[in-house]
Structures are given as C-alpha cells and as structure tokens.
C-alpha cells in the first residue's frame, strides 16, 4: 500500500491541472461553476477544446480517440476537470452511446459516428425511459417494426435530458413483442431527431428550468443500418451502458469544489458573533461532510484500482448511491448558508441560485438508477439477499 501519488501520476496530475485551467476559457468555467441552466455552446466549446487535445473520450478505444490510461489516471483527469469547473464531455456522448458503439457497433457505425460523437458534432440524447417504464425499464413499449430496409418506430420516450439541443437520440425499442422475457425483445436504435415523425416537447421542472423533454415517435422511418449490434440484444447493451462507468459515477471533484465554495460563503455571512463559519453547528456539518467526501473519494480510488476492465463492478452502485447523497447534502448546506437571502431566488448570485439548485438536484437520487434501485443492486448483487 502506498498513499501518495507516484512521480508519474503526480506529473500527470500537474499536466491536467495546467491544461484545464489555462486552455479552457475562464469566463466559460465561471459560468459553469455558477450553476443554473447550462449553455449548450459552452458545453460544445469545452468538449471541442478537450477533444483537440485528445482529452474528451480517454476511456474509448485508442484508435477512436481514447488514451491508454490507468483507472487512477482517469480519476485524476476527472477530478482536475471538475476542480477547474470545466464542463465535462457530454455524458450521453462520451459515457453512454460512444462506448456502446465502440464495443458493439459495426465498423461502419464506428467510423460514421465515433469521431463526430467525440467532437460533439453530433449531440446525443438518451431515449430509454417511458411514462410506464421508469425503474422498470424493461417494460418499455415503443415499438420498431421492420419494413424492408427500414425500421418503423412508434411510441413515446420521456425525461429526455437536453433533448432540445440534440441531433440524434439513442433509443431502446421493442422489436419482438412475443419474446419469452420482456428483456429479450428489445433493440438499440440510433435515430436522427430531424426524421419526419419525431416530435419533442419540453417538461418544466420545479426550479423553473426545461432540461427534460418528452419525445414522440409517429411512424418514424429509420434506416436499418442504424440498429446497433444484434436485433433483440438491446438490453445487454443498455446494461453495459448503465453499468460500465465505474470511474466518474460519483462527481467527487464537483462535490469538493462546491464544499469549498460553501465554506467561502459561510465565511462571508456575518452573524452577531462573527461569521457563519464560526458557528459550531454549521462548522460541525462542514467538517462531517469533508470527512464523508474523503471516504467517498477513497472508495472511488479503491474501486478504480480493483476494477476489471470490461465488466461492470457492482461497487459502482455504492458510488452512485453515496455520490448522489453527498452531492445533495452539499447543495442543502449551501441553501442553509444562504439563509434568508435564499428566499429571493432566481437571480444569478450564489444566494439566488441556492434554493433552485438544491431543488433541481433532488433528481440525482432518482435518475441513472434511483437510490432504491442501487440499494437493491447492492443487497441482491453483492450481499446475495434476494427477496
């Protein structure tokens, strides 16, 4: 065991830090750090700067822009990116559809889709959930029926994050309604949003923002070569997609940056006896969170070191569960620090964003596999407790 970074890894860390803080414009990073509704152009700009340096999709195969990094290096990369408030490469591209195409797509699909996906020339959105298929994703009903060289798609997706900016959607569709198990009749389809019959409508969330959408498919004709892998094997690819991201599932760097900001804010609020940072109750909460975040980061590092390439590690559920909780705890702390100032919400100051951001991030324990589902995975998958 060894608890410091090796000289090589320390040099790697330094290199990342320098790149993120000098090559990505400060004003863009400031906007990202402030929070609120993300600017799609900032996300594009940042990803292209990273991609030009080979830093957008390090976990992809090397020939499609990946790097031969260790898991520790990938963690350092993410950590430094988050610490510098660089918008991360769009998750739908970098972490979801990209790795699926790279692992299961045809050579043609790889050549066609991976370069523009890495460079965010294609903006992808994720069409998995449906009104009656949330936690129970395999109940999805959107159908694709083969007609000559095309699939004809009908149905509805929901909760499609940032779909309003998307050029393409990767969707799970039912291709065999008679399959013996509902997981067995599902395929993974790539659909251009501009195809006739695709209709998108915004859903407004409780912070007032419009980050999610409903997407409707009405006799949408999709070229057959846009089906990834084999017909009716989509569930396997979806499981790969949902489980393959071991590093990065817990946004440790962002949590640490927010916690540091929280301390700064607490120090700026005057009380009768000093500042909020001197208040023993608040100070104890911050200290507790710092210890908890440390435990999370160490677990991320330990899981990263132990993980076997290619096989989803059930420990990623631990990271998702705890990561979302701590992310929510820190945003809760910030709204508490804002105190009465947080009652006037909605402007771009930290106090004005505190309450809407806190409310918005209640989503973190719902999406990407809710915390109840993560506990289920831990209890049945790791502990062998099968009810």
């Amino acid at each position: 065991m060894q608890h410091r970074l090796s000289p090589d890894d320390a040099a790697f860390q330094q290199k990342m830090r320098e790149f993120f803080t000098s090559k990505v414009p400060q004003d863009l990073r400031d906007r990202w750090a402030a929070g609120g509704e993300p600017d799609p152009d900032d996300i594009r700009t940042a990803q292209r700067i990273l991609n030009a340096e080979g830093l957008a999709v390090p976990h992809w195969p090397v020939e499609y822009g990946g790097s031969d990094w260790s898991m520790l290096q990938r963690h350092i990369y993410l950590q430094e990116m988050q610490a510098a408030s660089v918008p991360p490469p769009l998750a739908f591209n970098a972490n979801m559809v990209g790795p699926v195409i790279a692992a299961f797509g045809s050579t043609e699909q790889k050549d066609r889709f991976l370069p523009p996906t890495a460079n965010l020339d294609i903006w992808w959105c994720q069409g998995f959930s449906e009104p009656d298929a949330g936690s129970d994703l395999a109940s999805l009903r959107t159908t694709a029926v083969r007609d000559g060289d095309e699939w004809v798609v009908n149905g509805q997706k929901t909760w499609t994050t940032l779909g309003q900016h998307a050029d393409w959607i990767f969707a799970l569709v039912r291709t065999d309604p008679d399959a013996p198990k509902k997981q067995m009749g599902i395929s993974f389809l790539l659909i251009e949003m501009s195809t006739p019959g695709v209709d998108i409508r915004p859903i407004q969330l409780i912070d007032g923002g419009h980050e999610v959408n409903e997407v409707f498919f009405d006799n949408v004709r999709v070229p057959a070569d846009q089906l990834v892998g084999e017909v009716n094997k989509g569930w396997d690819y979806a499981k790969f997609l949902l489980g393959n991201e071991r590093v990065g599932v817990a946004p440790v760097g962002s949590i640490k940056r927010k916690l540091a900001e929280a301390k700064e804010h607490a120090g700026s609020v005057q009380t009768d006896t000093g500042t909020l940072l001197d208040d023993p109750l608040l100070a104890a909460r911050i200290a507790e969170l710092e210890a908890q975040v440390m435990a999370l980061e160490l677990t991320v590092l330990r899981v990263a070191a132990n993980s076997r390439e290619g096989k989803p590690d059930p420990a990623s559920s631990t990271l998702k569960l705890r990561g979302s909780q701590l992310q929510q705890d820190v945003l809760e702390l910030i709204v508490d620090i804002a105190g009465p100032a947080g009652l006037a919400w909605g402007d771009d100051s930290w106090t004005g964003l505190a309450a809407p951001t806190y409310l918005n991030f209640r989503k973190a324990s719902i999406y990407g596999g809710s915390n109840e589902v993560q506990r289920q995975v831990i209890s049945s998958g790791i502990l062998g407790l099968k009810g």
């Binding site: 959930s129 009656d132 949330g134 936690s135 129970d136 109940s139 929901t158 909760w159 859903i203 407004q204 969330l205 409780i206 912070d207 007032g208 999610v212 700026s268 609020v269 005057q270 009380t271 009768d272 909020l276 208040d279 023993p280 109750l281 608040l282 809760e332 709204v335 508490d336 804002a338 105190g339 009465p340 100032a341 947080g342 009652l343 006037a344 919400w345 909605g346 402007d347 309450a355 809407p356 806190y358 409310l359 918005n360 209640r362 989503k363 324990s365 719902i366 999406y367 809710s370 915390n371 109840e372 506990r375």
Partner: protein
C-alpha cells in the same frame, strides 16, 4: 391539554378551506410559475373578508380578539392548498402595530394596507438581537440608515416595519411607501416613525416573530400533510414491475416514517399555537416548534419527491411546489440551525422541558 377545536373554530377552518380551494394554484398547460409567488390582491381581500387578518389582535385595537390557535387553523388550510400569501408577514407586522397602538392596524386588518416586516439583512445571518440599520432622531422625527432584505412581498408592500439599532437598544420603526431594488430596501437617512422604543423593542419583536413562527409552522403542516397524502396515494396507484409501488416494503416503511414526522410536527405546531396564545413571549417553545417543523418539512419534502420518482421533479405536479414552499418556510423567521443555536445557549434555564407547566 385538549387538541380539539370548538364549533366556531371549525366554522373558521371550513370557511378558509373553501377560500383556499378556490384560490389554489392551477397547474395546467404551459409554463407553471415556480418559487416564491407574487402578492395576489384577490386572495388577500378574500382573507380580509373572512376576518383572517385580524384574528389575533384585541377587538378594541381593530382586531377580532381570537388567538394564535385560530391563526394556526387558517395558515394550515392555506398551506394544504398551496396558497402562498403574506399572511405570516402581515401578522408579524400587525403584532408590532398592536403593541404600538398604531392606527394603521385597522387598515392592515381590512386588507387596505399591506404591512410587512423587513427583518433579513444582506450578507448577514438571521438575528433578532441586533441590526445593522441605524436609527437616529427623537420624538416624531427619526431617520434610518442601512439596508434590509430580502423583504417578502417587497413589490406590493405599502409599509414596512423595520427593527433598527437606536440608543439604548433595538427599536421598531414604520416606513411608508418603501422603495426597493431586487427586494432590498436601502435607507439613506430615510424618514421613519418610531413604533416601539428601545426599552421594549426586542420584546415586542420577539413576540411578533413568535406569532409569525406559528403561522409558518402551520402553513408547513398543511403542506406536509398534502405532500404526504399525495405520496401515499401515489404508492397505491403507480405500477412498476407489474405491481403497485406499495408492494415494495422499502417504500412503505419510508411512507410510515413520513407519517411519523408529520404527526410529530402536527402535535408540536398545535401545542406551540396554544402556548403562544397564552404567552406571546414564549420563544423557547416557538423555537422548538420551528426546529421540529423544519426537520420534518425537509424529511417529508425530500421523500415526497423521491418516492414519486421523475414526476415529483416536475412543475406540473404539486409535490415539488410543496417541497419548494417547505424549503422557504424553513428559512423564514430563523432557520433550524439558528433556532437550535438559541435553544442550545439556554440549556441551563431548565432541568427538563415541561409541556404541562
């Protein structure tokens, strides 16, 4: 101790329940307003008409001679229906006006004046002990310097009640037709009328805020009740994996925990209303109630969203709005941390908490 309500109280509750149902926000098509609601003059005059605005003030001062218990019944109904108003703020201001025997109280009670307290200060945590706004002058001629904010319902307020540091302590002032920028009132030698002098200012303010605490705790109680009921119903109807969500024990046990939080908050709020009706200066009870309700509100609000899944995050659906309101209420008239801190500083005042004393 008796938690039941008499027939007059029941009539008041039913009238407000009916009013609140009519004034409840409709979450239909298109963009739904989120966050703090603006002042709605129609709701306000409806409240004035049923006598809600004058309830806790003595009859000879223009009030209705009822108490914090009646205030609690009204606010609970508003909270249950999701109707946001300046109710608590007007009662805090009215309580100060009553202590000062101000003529303005009758205009507050009939709804023609909207008087709100300006208590929070930019860049400062909540405090009822000190103020960075300074008052100078004497007799009928006073001026204020400094700023207060955010002020609730700043756009609609006709008058502010402003605590300010004067020679000898905290005094309470009335400012007419205040002007605001971004909800912050800045006084630059602005003219003000003294309502309560430094000898009694802190006591009068504490009593007024205690009444406000009863009002917001009760509103929170209504909101928690509504959010919980919606959640329990949802667990019965929403199906995943071919069965209703209530089939999953982990969810039903958490629903039970929500119910426990709700009932403890209910007992505490009702008790605190009775205690403040008897002794408006009982800040320890008000603080305990604020702590219990703050923690319950956080628990119930967060769980209500979580157990609804994605739908709980949407503006179209009421659960998130209840949680938004509970979040705001926890920061109104001192947050959980501040009330805990003040309770912690007076632990040696008592051996045990005695509710039957």
């Amino acid at each position: 101790m008796d938690f039941s309500i008499d027939s007059e109280q029941k009539a008041l509750r039913d009238a407000v329940r009916e009013l609140a149902a009519r004034r409840a926000p409709q979450h239909g098509e298109g963009d739904v307003p989120v966050g703090p609601a603006p002042h709605d003059p129609d709701t306000w005059s409806a409240l004035a008409e049923v006598g809600a605005l004058g309830l806790p003030f003595a009859e000879d001062a223009g009030g209705l001679g009822a108490s914090a218990v009646e205030v609690s019944l009204v606010a609970t109904e508003l909270g249950h229906a999701g109707v946001q108003t300046a109710y608590a703020d007007a009662l805090v201001a009215g309580s100060v006006l009553a202590a000062a025997s101000s003529d303005l109280l009758s205009s507050l009670v009939d709804g023609s004046a909207l008087v709100v307290p300006a208590l929070a200060e930019p860049g400062r945590g909540w405090s009822l002990a000190s103020s960075s706004v300074h008052a100078s002058g004497s007799g009928d001629s006073w001026t204020l310097t400094g700023s207060k904010g955010p002020v609730p319902y700043a756009d609609a307020a006709t008058h502010l009640v402003v605590p300010a540091a004067a020679d000898g302590g905290l005094a309470l002032f009335l400012v007419e037709a205040p002007s605001f920028a971004d909800g912050i009132a800045t006084f630059d030698g602005s003219a003000a009328t003294q309502l309560v002098g430094p000898a009694d200012g802190a006591t009068a303010l504490a009593a007024a805020v205690n009444l406000g605490i009863i009002a917001v705790c009760s509103e929170a109680l209504g909101a928690m009740d509504a959010a919980s009921t919606m959640t329990f119903d949802y667990l019965k109807t929403r199906k995943q994996f071919g069965v209703p969500l209530m089939t999953f024990q982990t969810l039903t046990q958490r629903a039970a925990d929500m119910y426990v939080s709700l009932e403890l908050a209910r007992s505490t709020t009702l008790f605190a209303a009775m205690a403040i009706a008897d002794d408006p200066g009982d800040s320890a009870t008000a603080s305990r109630a604020k702590v219990v309700v703050g923690q319950s509100g956080r628990h119930i609000g967060q769980e209500a969203i979580q157990l609804h899944g994605g739908i709980g995050m949407t503006a179209e659906y009421a659960v998130g709005h209840f949680t938004t309101r509970l979040t705001a209420i926890e920061r109104t008239y001192g947050d959980t941390r501040q009330h805990l801190a003040s309770l912690a500083s007076s632990l040696s005042d008592h051996d045990q908490v005695d509710v039957l004393a």
